[in-house]
């Protein structure tokens, strides 16, 4: 089963390509994980990006390829790999949040 902690939203993939999107959020950052239909079932995979939330309502985020977690869109072929990444990402975001809080107010992102 996919990790449900820190899950902000689970919705139909909004581009209409079929499949689902899971959006996670921890301290301003998060992960989008999309699973789309594939003609070959064995090709079904997770497309994962680290994101930075602009606002939660309305839901707006930007893809963030500047963290140490991921410099590009990641692909996972199993739920286990996705879950492991999510665990890692949640810890990373917690620490990142702590570090950002230590910055002087005008330097905070």
């Amino acid at each position: 089963m996919i990790i449900q902690d820190n899950l902000l939203l689970n919705r139909a993939e909004p581009d209409g390509l079929g499949g689902v999107q899971f959006l996670y959020k921890v301290k301003g950052y998060g992960v989008t994980a999309i699973s789309k239909p594939q003609e070959e079932l064995s090709h079904i995979h997770w497309e994962v990006d680290v994101i930075k939330y602009v606002t939660e309502i309305p839901l707006k985020y930007e893809v963030c390829h500047t963290t140490d977690l991921a410099k590009k869109t990641l692909k996972f072929y199993s739920d286990k790999a996705l879950n492991e990444f999510l665990d890692k990402a949640f810890k990373y975001f917690e620490e990142l949040g702590l570090l950002e809080n230590m910055l002087p107010d005008n330097d905070r992102p």
């Binding site: 089963m1 079929g18 239909p37």
Partner: protein
């Protein structure tokens, strides 16, 4: 002696079919009380898990994309002993005809098809309701028109609307697990005794994964009772008569046109009688979000998922938009729709087909019963996608034009 000789097919003599190790539970317990576990699986896998719990006697298969995955899984279920008999038929006319034969024998019968396969089997399928044969038909919609394509498009469902078939439209993988189980039970109710198709928008659901909450596989539905049926089974277990069950429907030498018309009336009355069961087992023929809204999206199948997201985004923007998901196309939830939409100002019907059959159905239901404007669209077809944005744009456009 029969086709059920598992030793001849390579099983050890002490083999116990796994279906026989399952415990039968009451449908209400299966649908609402048993604990459930959620898994992230494809629509085809959801179909397989549904079939595993359906207590199927005979499943007959024929491959066609995007359905093949499901019936080959049914083959594995047969191998494991969850289905009693299974074979690959010659093509869809053969398969649909064989299903009518199996159901006439009084056993639970299942098959699945897609687009062109449904069209090929249509002569047989359209004769099922008149023959009063309960059959579960899983239908994974795909393009039927030339040029050939395997993409989702649910125009094929419109061909089933006036046959006397029961017809459910599954939105996602979860529905494609739940609805076939409900279909099996309702179609076999004595005052129904009709075949039931469960359509789903193929590829988007069959070939994609979604969260499906399922009951333990150790439980199955009660078997079909071959003695309980609106018309007797073709088992030669009834007192002999010179006219057998099928014969009264033929018109030529013996039967009046009046007989045929009353037979049809009875079929369509049985469709209406099924509504009370679907209402009970599906938890309503429709689902409503924001019932007090003035603007409504009315959809079935995969269009519902995109509509849900459109409603959510409209909500973020401070606009309350209602949504109705139509679960059951036949029986058609006329009373429910009229009640839910009588005060609506604007009703929009997004669809995955060119003809807009759902829009037409809705128009004929709501004519004279609402003062709201009916908007047929947005529509995508031939495999086109329907982004949430498209629905939002149509809504904005309708508001701008004050439709």
């Amino acid at each position: 002696m029969s086709n059920l000789d598992f030793v001849a097919e390579g099983k050890p003599a002490d083999w116990v079919p796994l279906g026989e190790t399952q415990t039968v539970v009451d449908p209400m317990e299966m649908f609402f009380k048993l604990p459930r576990k959620t898994e992230f699986i494809t629509g085809s896998e959801a179909a397989r898990e549904s079939i595993r719990r359906m207590n199927v006697d005979v499943a007959i298969a024929y491959p066609i994309t995007p359905q093949s995955e499901t019936m080959q899984q049914a083959g594995y279920l047969y191998d494991e002993g969850y289905i009693k008999d299974f074979y690959r038929g010659e093509e869809e006319i053969g398969v649909m005809s064989a299903c009518s034969g199996a159901s006439r024998a009084g056993v639970r019968t299942l098959t699945a098809t897609s687009g062109p396969g449904l069209m090929r089997g249509m002569e047989a399928i359209s004769s099922w309701p008149g023959a009063r044969v309960p059959i579960v038909l899983m239908d994974m919609c795909r393009v039927i028109n030339t040029p050939l394509a395997i993409q989702p498009d649910n125009i094929e469902m419109s061909f089933m609307l006036n046959t006397g078939m029961l017809l459910l439209h599954a939105e996602d993988q979860q529905d494609f697990y739940d609805y076939p189980l409900v279909a099996a039970i309702v179609s076999e109710k004595v005052d129904v005794t009709l075949p039931c198709a469960v359509s789903v928008d193929g590829f988007f659901v069959t070939h994609a994964r979604g969260q499906v909450s399922m009951t333990p596989k150790e439980y199955k539905l009660p078997p079909r009772d071959g003695w309980a049926s609106a018309v007797p089974a073709m088992d030669n277990e009834n007192p002999p008569a010179r006219l057998s069950r099928d014969a009264p429907i033929q018109k030529s030498n013996f039967i009046s046109y009046h007989m045929h018309s009353s037979w049809q009336q009875e079929v369509f009355a049985a469709v209406e009688r099924s509504a009370k069961y679907f209402d009970k087992y599906l938890g309503g023929l429709i689902e409503i979000i924001n019932p007090d809204a003035e603007e409504f999206l009315v959809a079935s199948g995969a269009a519902v998922s995109q509509s849900r997201e459109a409603v959510r985004q409209e909500g973020e923007a401070g606009r309350k938009v209602g949504m109705i998901k139509i679960k059951s196309i036949r029986p058609w939830p006329m009373r429910e729709l009229v009640a839910a939409l009588k005060n609506a100002k604007r009703i929009m019907v997004p669809e995955f087909n060119q003809a807009g059959w759902l829009h037409k159905e809705l128009c004929s239901t709501l004519y004279g019963r609402t003062t709201g404007t009916m908007i047929g669209g947005p529509r995508v077809y031939g495999g086109m996608t329907m982004p949430t944005e498209m629905i939002l744009e149509w809504l904005a456009d309708a508001r701008k034009k004050q439709l």
